[in-house]
Amino acid sequence: MPQVVRNSPVYDVVVIGSGAGGGTVTKVLADLGVSVLLMEAGPMFNPAKDIKEHMWPYQVPHRGVGPHGEGYFGRSPFTFSASFGGAQLDGEPYTVAPGSDFSWFRSRILGGRTNHYGRFSLRFADYDFKPHSRDGLGWDWPVSYEDISPYYDKAETFIGVVGTKEGIRSAPDGIFQTPAAPKVHDILTKKACGKLGIPCIPMRSAIITQPTNGRAPCHYCGQCGRACMTASNYASSYVQIFPAMKTGRVKVITNAMARELLTDDAGKVRAVSYVDKNTRGEQQVRCRTVVLAASACESARLLLNSKSPRHPAGLANSSGVVGRYLTDTVGTGLSGHIPALEGLPHYNSDGYGTHMYIPWWLWEKQKDVGFPRGYHVELGGGFGMPGVGSFQATCQRHEGYGLGLKKAIREEYGTGVSFSGRGEMIPNEKSYCEIDPQMVDRWGIPVLRFHWEWSDHELKQAEHQVRTFAEIIHAMGGTVTGGRRGSAEAGGGTGRQVISRGGAVIHEIGTVRMGDDPKTSVLNRYCQSHDVKNLFVADGGPFVSNSDKNPTLTIIALAWRTAEYLAEEMRKGNV
């Protein structure tokens, strides 16, 4: 029997979701003196037990392959991850339309995916905000680099980002802390890239190398994906939400799955209905304003499920655009064996994971490359902590068994390099999410159905990525050892063979996009709903395009700007 509490207090702001967007909004509003109720669909993040940092594989019975050996059968175990999530969540299904392929990673814990993400923190370039003006494809943002740049400054200063000033247009400089030195394979990669005219620069990562706001500097264990004992990387949980809670203006409700936004006669949001996962009872909290930060697709789902006679297509959806123009990142990968690394004296190379990367370098020659937009490349290599699967490629290559195999593994350890391409997908009409007409989740909430299609732009780009990686490996004197699928092993393969599954890079973006025209966009330039003035969105949903830059830093910058705008509008009595 659902228990609906109608006499709850009225909160100034209810924030739904506690990742990069929700964490930032919560922190900024709390600092501005606004009271916030933060709702998270998962449990509280408890650093004492949820951080698996410094654990060895043999300290879990299955060594990291996952319960029941699931890692051997195509299901990625996130054994050491602190994000409490995956593409399959018990009781929380989604569907994929026939002919589409899409994977939807969701996180259920305070801090969401910021507890495990790669920490790469790249600013959009000036041209990334105006892609349509550049090549006639997709849409321009209603804001420019100049509008967002001050918020990149605030974000970088507060969360702490390592990097170096390079003066490269595709990779605008920011406010950086000193990065760690390049690893040996980075130095070789940079040398080879030099021969090919490709830049290779220190990665900009949300890692601190000097004490920052009471947080200790990085201790270089390379395990950022497990969250951090010393809070030396950015995660919204320990960098923003816990300090915000100390102000006394923030209340957190965990295990609260938002079901629906309830509106008043004037069409404004008056309350959020949610399921308390502990009791399965339905609850309501009343609010003056609401900020959706549940992730692009969850926020779209919540709006589409908030139907009423006044809003038959869902709330804030007079444009019909909610759920549309879903994008992910174009992902490919290729690895190589580098003879120059054979016999290299062993050293502790952990650091903070990726120390160097290749920013997009062909923006001036875009017409010659054969596809619009660009990609960047994240470098991998070094003497990593061994795990399940670490030597599978060596086994496949070497075959055999016995002392010969043991010797081959010992000799090949640390001689590999890997390249992960991360490129821009242009929003298209065939990639979107909608409410599945038949299926509901464990709490009776209608689920999402995904439609997905890569266009030729992305497929051509993916081919270019893999070809480039092969060229770099060859320029290093190495041989290509493996890619995503068999045909990539020669450094070739068609786009369809080498491109990632939709959703697999976990950069889903764009389902409630911003714009100046209420007919073609859901939100205005401050991420405020055109239709519902006390409704804001602060996750990846508002993005108009999905540049090659990893979205988190831009989510933080936009959320910061939205929170300041919201506080000011509230002060003026406009919302």
């Binding site: 951080i51 050996g69 051997y72 030597f391």
Partner: protein, 196 residues
């Protein structure tokens, strides 16, 4: 900063991590200690998915895949068979792969030497493995053995190199806290020189 003072810093770690549930520094440190101090359990493993004979066969097979050499232990010492059996006891597909594969191994050995795999001579055992350890030998006759050996090799290697002794054998030096990140100059010079 010395490693010792770095440890002190780590002890204060949980201080920086201000938890909503007021995690004390001691508790945070406790977890850290657990992670670094815990070691593998010792004692005789009782197979759960495999019969005693199958398990003995698997133990022999894993030790042939990653054998001991001088001071370097092998897969038997690393408990590879126990780990595989434990996973097979939780996963029917793995259980089928191993019971079927080990039976194939016995059957193939019986046809060659009238002995089960585990009872055959070391030379007889390796003669059979020399056939099924390579994809180039694929045939209707050997196919099932080659497919099974691929699984056994993959999981034995995983088991060995995720064990404490396997990680030591590999000379992995990380998973620790460092005050500064430094790359040894001699390593850089070595690689640059070798890269031409």
């Amino acid at each position: 900063m010395s490693e010792y003072s770095r440890r002190d810093l780590l002890r204060s770690v949980a201080l920086a991590v201000v938890s909503a549930e007021a995690i004390s520094a001691q508790e945070g440190q406790h977890v850290h200690q657990m992670a670094t101090d815990r070691t593998e359990k010792s004692g005789r493993y009782e197979p759960k998915a495999l019969t005693a004979h199958e398990y003995a066969t698997l133990e022999r097979l894993t030790d042939l895949i990653i054998p001991p050499e001088g001071k370097s232990p092998g897969a038997l010492a690393a408990g590879a068979a126990a780990w595989i059996d434990m996973l097979a006891s939780e996963n029917e597909r793995l259980a089928a792969i191993y019971t079927g594969g080990l039976a194939w191994l016995d059957h193939a050995m019986l046809g060659r030497s009238e002995k089960n795999f585990v009872d055959a001579s070391p030379a007889g055992q390796t003669a059979l493995l020399d056939l099924i350890a390579y994809r180039k030998n694929d045939s209707p006759d050997l196919g099932p053995g080659i497919g099974f050996f691929d699984w056994a090799r993959r999981m034995t290697v995983d088991a060995f190199y995720t064990s404490k002794i396997g990680i030591e054998d590999l000379d992995y030096r990380g998973n620790t806290a460092m005050a500064r990140y430094e790359v040894p100059v001699e390593a850089i010079q070595y690689a640059l020189k070798k890269s031409g």
